[in-house]
């Protein structure tokens, strides 16, 4: 079942510029989907349509089989089901302490204090941030802020979590911690959608990939299918994963052919192919 589905949505800014054009974006329940695109391709704009922050100029959005309506009650329901983690945690963390920030969503839903306390504890534990409840957000590092922002969404127990550039601005270790966390959350049954331009990470992480360019979805498929089409990838101002690029150069320029296209996308895959040849 498609847990998110947009049907032909277009979004025009008040000045007439077109941010999205006839976008059909589908996410199957329980999967991990990556939306690839250069800066300004429209990824964040698309995400804001999922929970009804933006209303499409034309077209409809379905979340969990239900058409998104824009009255207060429906929006409240949709936003509980679908949580968005924003790119800059400083935009998202608004309360004076970590605990109060994580409790912010559940409080808005109107849960009992007991329930909220449980959820805050559980969410912080899941992201590995127990024991910082009383700290203020500005006392945390970038990676820690990101984890708290994710905990704030987890506390609402969403079915779907949408993350805008989850690893941007983080150090390598912090980034891989976040990706590992997302993997675990997905194992726990949460459907995960991320936007990124980190092409090296995508094959490791996503089961399905969309490429977005200038407000349109120009390609969809598995990572292998996507990166097979080198021209489209490069036209969208993206590139091949480094390891695939190396294989391509070795193949075309040095005639050291470890394998024919499609080139391996991950280190593990490349290692296997090289060992087969040597």
């Amino acid at each position: 079942m498609n847990i998110i589905e947009t049907k032909n949505i277009s979004y025009h800014y008040p000045d007439g510029s077109k941010a999205l054009q006839k976008v059909n974006f589908k996410v199957e329940e329980g999967t991990k989907v990556a939306l690839l695109g250069a800066n300004g391709a429209g990824k964040s704009t698309l995400f804001l349509h999922f929970n009804g922050i933006l209303k499409p100029t034309s077209g409809t959005v379905f979340v969990d089989g239900e058409e998104v309506k824009y009255d207060k009650k429906s929006l409240l329901r949709i936003r509980q089901k679908l949580g968005i983690v924003f790119q800059n945690p400083d935009d998202q963390l608004i309360a004076p302490t970590v605990k109060e920030d994580v409790a912010y969503g559940p409080l808005n839903i109107g849960l009992s204090n007991e329930e909220i306390n449980d959820r805050v504890k559980e969410s912080l534990k899941r992201v590995g941030m127990e024991g910082v409840e009383k700290k203020a957000p500005h006392q945390l590092s970038g990676g820690e802020k990101k984890k708290v922002a994710i905990a704030g969404i987890l506390a609402m127990r969403p079915k779907i979590m949408v993350l805008d550039e989850p690893t941007s601005g983080l150090d390598p270790k912090g980034a891989s911690q976040i990706m590992k966390l997302l993997y675990e959350l997905n194992q726990g049954g949460i459907t995960i959608v991320i936007s990124t331009h980190d092409v090296d990470m995508v094959p490791l992480y996503a089961s399905k990939v969309y490429i977005m360019s200038e407000g349109r979805l120009i390609k969809e498929g598995s990572p292998q299918e996507i990166f097979k089409d080198v021209t489209t990838v490069r036209d969208a101002n993206l590139r091949l994963p480094r390891i695939a690029h190396l294989m391509e150069i070795l193949d075309k320029k040095n005639e050291l052919t470890f394998c024919k296209p499609p080139y391996p996308l991950t280190i593990g895959e490349a290692r296997k192919r090289i060992l087969e040849k040597v």
């Binding site: 924003f86 800059n88 400083d90 004076p96 500005h138 006392q139 609402m156």
Partner: protein, 262 residues
Amino acid sequence: MFEDFLDRYAQSNAIRNVNTYYKVLFGIITMIVSLVSTSPVMPLIIFSLVSFVILFKAKIPVKFYLKFVTVPLTFASITFVFMAFWFGTGSYIYTLGVFNLGVTASGFNLGFLVFARMMGGFACLAFLGLTTPLPEIFSVLEDFKFPEELLEISMLMYRYVFVSIDEAIKMHHAQETRLGYSSFKKSYQSMGMLIANIFIRTWIIGEKSYVSMQSRCYDGTFNTMDDHDSIRSIRVRNLVVLALLESILSIGVFLTSSFRIF
């Protein structure tokens, strides 16, 4: 940064875990006693007393506290001088010799009283600011039925003051890198640009935060958790000590009420 230190001490001082209500009650009542005093004696005693608590009970470093005190001290001194010269009536007890300026006894007394009250009040506020994290003060104020709107705005301000300071520091560094502060005139221009930019940045951050709040089901009211210390968990002994202390201070105010220097 100064604000940063203030916040850090509030989070980790020797009396951080004393009941918040107790600290707020002590701070506010002592401040009121200092303000109602009609002679400068009690406010100055309160200033010394509270400073003593800050330095030796909360264990705030002397150097930092002295630096902190200079700010109100400067203002209070200026006020004192101006009032001594311009606010009194009667005959001069000291004349400057130019422009027919001089100090009158009533002006001097009034100025000194204001000076003392300012320092006494400041010490009480500094006590609250240095020993209690702001979020906890907010929750106590909420319990005391402080207007919700003001509290919400204060809470958001508390959060975004730090974000804005970070932004400002980054912009300042970027300007310095491009020699924006190399001369007096350029400094003024750069500072103006920085301030204008902060306003724009604030607006943008505000809009982004609003979107992220909406995503977490914001409905127009800023809900907060109400789990914190309770006023009931203050031990009776401590309450008695507080009551005794404030009574002694009040009696002091009464006894010294007619004290004047001139």
